[in-house]
């Protein structure tokens, strides 16, 4: 059963983040190595397997914005840090979202620094699925510097989506910053388009951020959110 069907069967309209990663992986969209831990002990053994540094994110169907309740800790370098992070998340969630049932934690490998992109999607009755591309950050929002295309998106369409945004030059290397792995970004967009057309129940999706590394080093979806509706 696909994660989408499972979520629907459970009456959920939102995928858990590890389900989102599973869905992305099924379409060969790169996500950092990750795993779900029920408790601290599992968290530690998972982190050892994945390799530090890692990030920890709380898993709970009642929590919509994990950061707002202190449910996320990034850049954990070792075992000691991980144990502390787990404690911190537990305390913080208990205090700020006492109603929430915590199902566990998502442990994921930290992706190196890169340029943050947003690749989003929305379903519109008239347009069908539409994918939006832009750079992360407030300027994208301010200047509405996004490009959009209807699904299905071909490779050439995806290249145009990249070139169309004003911030494109930041991706090709600007003032000493290295050029980014644009082939990898195009690949994410095209695969994401396929994911959407094969999963019509998806109403909204945000891959935010997608981190574009230097040329040849890939692009990773670091955080993903999927909302479901009727087919």
């Amino acid at each position: 059963m696909s994660v989408v069907d499972r979520a629907k069967a459970e009456g959920r309209t939102k995928l858990h983040e590890h389900e989102a990663f599973e869905l992305l992986r099924r379409y060969s969209i790169p996500v950092p190595d990750y795993g779900v831990a029920k408790d601290e002990e599992e968290a530690v053994s998972l982190a050892e397997k994945i390799g530090y540094p890692v990030a920890v994110k709380v898993i709970s169907r009642q929590i919509v914005h994990k950061t707002d309740v202190g449910g996320v800790v990034l850049g954990i370098a070792d075992r000691g840090g991980l144990v502390a992070a787990c404690n911190k998340i537990r305390e913080s969630v208990k205090a700020r979202a006492p109603y929430a049932e915590v199902e566990g934690c998502l442990i994921q490998k930290m992706v190196p620094q890169g340029i943050e992109l947003i690749i989003g999607a929305v379903y519109d009755d008239v347009f069908g699925h539409v994918v939006a591309f832009g750079l992360g950050g407030v300027l994208t929002e301010l200047y509405r510097d996004v490009s959009m295309r209807l699904v299905p998106i071909e490779e050439e369409d995806a290249w145009e989506m990249l070139r169309e945004v004003k911030a494109y030059r930041l991706l090709t290397g600007y003032r000493g910053t290295p050029p980014r792995d644009l082939h990898a970004v195009v690949d994410v967009i095209v695969k994401f388009s396929r994911l959407l057309s094969e999963n019509p129940a998806i109403r909204e999706a945000d891959l935010n951020p997608v981190i574009a590394l230097e040329e040849g080093k890939g692009a990773y979806v670091v955080d993903a959110r999927f909302l479901l509706g009727g087919d």
């Binding site: 989003g120 008239v126 539409v130 939006a132 209807l150 145009e160």
Partner: protein
């Protein structure tokens, strides 16, 4: 939805028409359309209104039929201008007679909350195989055969001459004002279709129709917003095919409201927004106009000029200031304005005035003669260094004559796009402009507009894949 040309030919290019709701009362909708048909329609027109038998209109005895079924001959299209409640009955009668298409002018349907009545029209159309345009529309204007259902009198809303352009317009009022504007500028807007509520025929079918009409070279589209599920995708699929044969230029109105909504950051806020239309246009290979004037500025060039094989522009001017403006615009649009090659520059130095500027722009100065333009064009346009030319001819300078038009027209043989900037209002300027336009060299009053026209040609060349790698 099927959409072969055969489907829509009776609607857009009929040989016989029945006007239901025809009226001898001047200034009524039924009268204006009747007048259009008797004045200009080159086909058979029948008039239906049970209130009249025979009426003399404009010195002609016109027979009025009681109903469609009374009409003796075949009818391609029925034009319906009767109160909304009666329309289904008329449509059914038309269907029974075997009429293939209906233009429903009448309003009072979905736009007034009567969705059921509109659904009834759609169902009747399907049942009898009648393609329905409207309701609540201006319908069709076709300069080729004079079929004209626009109910605005010709003396107020001009009718443009036959030519290479077609317009699909979501708005009737916008369509009528474009027609009037085009008529006064002698722009060859042959066919206009306004579909109103779009119960049946819409943008997709019309694009397909114009794709196959060989007389149409450029399709212009005025759109406010699609309305049916999946419609954007169908539009995209159709447009992608059409642009392989001829260019589509679209202008999307209504960019602001959604922008307000979309201040929130996530993608869902962009649903139905202008950005989606922009994305759709680019994905389809549609050239987007910034406004209506821009749409026809670009259409004029696309209808007349060959496609450039690259983006390098020669700017030739007799005014330094105008030349600089042109370069500014061209570069802002992503076109190139390269320097002249040294060898040709040396040759030109011998032929031109000593104080001419031999950069790009080439400035032949206010002392220029017709001959100077000719020399520069012949030396540079047929070379591998340039793909197109923007020529500025301020005719106010004393050395230029009407002969310059002949030289520019002659330069068409180089098979590269040429646009001309010609600013001013004297009789000489007007007749110069007319000579060029008659010979299919597009002219513009300002450099920015000429630059946009070249940009559109370059865009379409890229869409068609003819740009040299």
């Amino acid at each position: 939805m099927s959409s072969s040309q055969e489907d829509l030919a009776p609607l857009i290019s009929p040989s016989s028409v029945a006007l239901v709701g025809a009226s001898p009362k001047q200034a009524s909708v039924g009268y204006v359309i009747l007048e259009n048909l008797i004045d200009r329609f080159r086909g058979t027109a029948y008039f239906v209104n049970p209130k009249y038998d025979e009426v003399e209109i404009k010195g002609r005895q016109l027979k009025f039929y009681k109903s469609i079924s009374e009409i003796p001959g075949p009818v391609d299209v029925v034009v319906i201008a009767v109160p909304a409640q009666v329309v289904p009955q008329v449509l059914e009668e038309a269907g029974k007679k075997g009429v293939k298409a209906a233009v429903i002018i009448s309003s009072g349907f979905a736009e007034a909350g009567n969705k059921e009545l509109e659904d009834e029209l759609r169902a009747l159309g399907r049942m009898y195989g009648v393609r329905v345009l409207g309701p609540n529309c201006l319908g069709v204007y076709n300069a080729f055969n004079g079929f004209d259902t626009v109910f605005l009198p010709a003396e107020r809303a001009g009718r443009p001459p036959a030519g290479p352009l077609a317009l699909i317009s979501q708005s009737g009022a916008v369509a009528a004002s474009i027609m009037d504007w085009a008529a006064r500028r002698n722009i060859g807007l042959s066919i206009m279709v306004n579909y109103g509520n779009k119960a049946d025929v819409g943008d997709v079918e019309l694009l397909r129709y114009f794709e196959r009409d060989e007389r149409i070279k450029v399709i212009t589209v005025y759109v406010e917003g699609f309305k049916y599920p999946g419609e954007a995708r169908r539009f995209l699929d159709a447009a992608r095919e059409v642009v392989k044969k001829k260019p589509i230029i679209a202008y999307k109105a209504g960019r602001g409201a959604a922008a307000q909504r979309a201040v929130r950051s996530h993608t869902a806020a962009l649903a139905g927004s202008y950005e989606m239309y922009r994305g759709l246009f680019r994905q389809a290979g549609i050239i987007e106009a910034a406004n209506l004037r821009d749409m026809f500025d670009m259409a004029k060039a696309l209808a007349t000029q060959p496609l450039p094989r690259g983006g390098r522009v020669l700017v030739l001017t007799d005014s330094g200031g105008m030349g600089i403006q042109a370069v500014d615009e061209l570069e802002a649009l992503g076109l190139e304005v390269p320097e002249l090659p040294e060898s040709i520059r040396r040759d030109l130095r011998r032929e031109l005035l000593p104080f001419s500027a031999l950069g790009n722009p080439v400035d032949v100065t206010g002392s220029a003669t017709d001959q100077h333009y000719k020399v520069v064009l012949e030396a540079l346009l047929p070379t591998a260094f340039f793909d197109m030319a923007l020529v500025i001819t301020l005719m106010q300078v004393p050395g230029l004559t009407q002969n310059l038009a002949e030289y520019l027209i002659d330069a068409r043989r180089f098979r590269k796009p040429i646009v001309v900037v010609n600013f001013g209002g004297s009789e000489m300027v007007q007749s110069f402009t007319k000579s060029l336009e008659d010979a299919e060299i597009p002219t513009y009053p300002t450099p920015d507009r000429a630059a946009r026209a070249l940009w559109a040609l370059y865009q379409y060349a890229k869409i068609r894949g003819v740009v040299r790698p």
